[in-house]
């Protein structure tokens, strides 16, 4: 299989398409996970959109977008970006932190400008620019809202994502903010960031606990499943749901003032656009850009929902 891909790559390389780069052009390589679920779908949408916009505005700029299905595939992509596309800058959202630290370091050794997005590398000296959301803050903002709405003795259930660092950061942020409030956590279970598991886990929570005051779904795909389960049990009047991410379907509900999903917490897939734009600035202008950019996780409320609503995005 690998040989087959290599053959395709080689044939692309020797075809005129592969070497159509104008002289003096700058190339930015973008390596991100493939669109396997809602959030990465949004990530791909914003990456593609930014590529088209920047290339149209700057004829001397070329952006190569590669998507990977696993950490090892992403490492291969990085090699290809150097060997075939001869990139000047790299924007990378690592599949996993530790396994990709070495491969990104190798790219850096070629004198390439490195922008790391969302998931930090194990070795922070490698990156020139770091753009990320703040998972711990996302948990804290969600818990803070719970504290405003609930009082001591009220009950929450939590649906977690996939057991990963991201999920732990969100969960720990939430728990530390909630600490001392007297609000009970009835149970937490993994719902794997998808709608079907959100639905079944919530169904079981509803059979198990007669009194639930709020649900922290921490992801909008999970939240969609939770909404259906709550409706099926006809308990939409006794609880509310806080998701996370900023999916358009949920933002639309918040805008409409739905009591079941009164707010959402942003964790924007458009951060990839921020990262590509920043990296492009290096070639377009002379402004200093190196450093860390941590995007906030604001609470999306009916008042401000409009500014977080992307009707064209798949997420």
């Amino acid at each position: 299989m690998k040989t087959f891909y290599r053959l395709i790559l080689v044939s692309l390389l020797i075809s005129p398409l592969g070497i159509s780069q104008p002289l003096g052009a700058q190339t930015i390589g973008v390596s991100i996970p493939a669109a396997t679920h809602g959030w990465t779908g949004g990530l791909n949408f914003h990456a593609e959109e930014t590529k088209n916009r920047l290339e149209a505005a700057n004829p001397s700029l070329r952006i190569v977008l590669l998507t990977a299905n696993s950490a090892s595939e992403q490492a291969n992509d990085l090699e290809d970006l150097i060997a075939i596309h001869n990139i000047d800058a790299l924007v990378v959202l690592p599949f996993e932190s530790a396994p990709l630290t070495g491969p990104v370091q190798n790219v850096k050794r070629q004198g390439v400008f490195i922008t790391v997005v969302d998931r930090g590398l194990s070795e922070p000296n490698i990156q020139d620019v770091y753009v990320a959301g703040n998972n711990a803050e996302m948990g804290r903002v969600s818990a803070n809202y719970m504290k405003q709405r609930l009082s001591a003795g009220d009950n929450i259930v939590i649906l977690r994502g996939i057991p990963t660092v991201i999920d732990d950061q969100r969960f720990n942020g939430f728990m530390s903010e909630l600490d001392g409030s007297g609000i009970n956590i009835l149970d937490d279970q993994y719902a794997n960031w998808n709608r079907d598991d959100g639905f079944t886990v919530m169904q079981d929570f509803l059979s198990r606990f007669p009194d639930i005051d709020a649900v922290w779904a921490q992801d909008d795909d999970i939240a969609i499943g939770v909404i259906q389960a709550v409706r099926q049990a006809r308990r939409q009047d006794e609880l509310f749901i806080v998701g996370g991410g900023g999916m358009k379907d949920i933002v639309r509900r918040v805008m409409a003032g739905d009591a079941l999903t009164p707010v959402d917490v942003l964790y924007p897939p458009s951060m990839i656009a921020t990262a590509i734009e920043l990296t492009a600035l290096k070639f377009i202008s002379n402004v200093p850009i190196s450093g860390e950019y941590i995007l906030g996780s604001p609470l999306i409320t009916p008042e401000n929902a409009e500014q977080f609503y992307y009707p064209d995005s798949p997420f």
Binding site: A34, A35, T36, H37, G38, T40, G41, G42, N44, F45, R160, P163, D187, D188, Q189, Y190, N194, R195, D196, F199, T200, V201, Q203, D204, F205, L206, S207, R208, D221, I224, G225, Q228, Q232, A233, D249, S313, P314, F315
Partner: protein, 328 residues
């Protein structure tokens, strides 16, 4: 001695899955009072119908010595097709019922055709079923991601509202998906046990060469098992789509392995030649029960859920296969 006599009298091979189901049921009762609530039991029945219906199709494929890894991706692809068709028709046809019926018809056609492709590639192109269906699995999985633009396809709200009755509605207190599951199981049982085609499946799975020399149309029968599998996937999809009204690249992930697990737990032999529909039904119920019980207790760390599932699956199969059964 008396023990041996006891074991040789009851057919443990047939009773094994039922014993495991009963044991799990008892564990559920002990773990949480909510387990026996009407709401929870109907949830379990409705949930197990997806994997159960797919697994009934898989029972035919596996009995005839084949395997189909594409079912999960196929379910996602068919869900996507149904949603796109219904959304497109919502502009030109007024009656939601007509739109839903057309989508159901399309679903069965797509499922049967997808099964036919798998079957022809196995029988005519002479490629191993494992490779053919691994390939089609990748194709359908990419197609649904492409159709959804990497995101999620959502069903038109007005149609979804009417269609949702198919999943959430019930007859005599039993949810519709469970009735569909039961109907498919009875039809599957008759087809596998009481017809010539069913006997041919057993014969082909036992020894394909001998079946061929016995004037059985081996290629035709094998192709039909894949078509049946495709139709079963489409029926599972027809009751899956109304649940959440959406399809994405995540839909039906690992259904193929769950369906195969249900079939094997039920006593069908993975290398073919012997199949049991009721065992498969019990196998699907067992798989659903495991995750339901794990959600009803916090006695076991979340991180270990997969380990518990693995142990129960192995024990369930050991109950009917283990060497302790042999009296000599």
């Amino acid at each position: 001695m008396t023990d041996r006599n006891f074991f040789s009298k009851i057919n443990l091979k047939a009773a094994g899955p039922f014993v495991a189901l009963f044991a799990l049921f008892m564990i559920g009762v002990l773990v949480n009072d909510a387990f026996l609530s009407v709401g929870n039991i109907t949830n379990i029945l409705a949930r197990s119908s997806f994997i159960g219906i797919v697994a009934i199709g898989a029972t035919f494929v596996i009995t005839a010595g084949g395997i189909d890894l594409s079912v999960g991706a196929m379910a996602a692809f068919i869900s996507g097709c149904m949603i796109i068709i219904m959304n497109a028709l919502s502009n030109s046809i007024d009656s939601s019922i007509v739109i839903i019926l057309l989508a159901i018809l399309a679903s069965v056609l797509v499922g049967a055709f997808a099964g036919l492709i798998n079957g022809l590639l196995v029988t005519r192109a002479k490629i191993e079923a494992f490779i053919v269906t691994l390939g089609t699995m990748g194709i359908y999985r990419s197609l649904i991601t492409y159709m959804a633009d990497g995101g999620t396809l959502s069903l038109n709200f007005a149609i979804g509202d009417i269609y949702s009755e198919v999943y959430y509605g019930d007859l005599f207190g039993i949810p519709y998906p469970a009735w569909v599951f039961l109907t498919i199981a009875i039809s599957g049982y008759i087809l596998l046990k009481k017809t010539v085609f069913g006997r041919h499946c057993f014969a082909i799975g036992s020894n394909e060469k001998v079946a061929l020399y016995s004037a059985i149309h081996v290629d035709r029968a094998k192709t039909i098992t894949y078509i049946l599998q495709g139709i079963c996937v489409s029926i599972a999809t027809i009751i899956y789509v109304p649940r959440l009204g959406s399809a994405s690249g995540q839909t039906g992930i690992l259904w193929e392995l769950e369906a195969i697990a249900a079939v094997i737990i039920g006593g069908t032999v993975l290398k073919g030649g012997y199949g049991r529909i009721w065992g498969t039904v019990v196998g699907a119920l067992i798989l659903t029960l495991i995750s339901n019980i794990l959600n009803l207790t916090d006695a076991i760390s979340n991180y270990l859920n997969g380990a518990v599932q693995g142990i129960i699956i192995i024990v369930a199969v050991y109950l009917q296969r283990g060497s302790w059964r042999k009296s000599n």
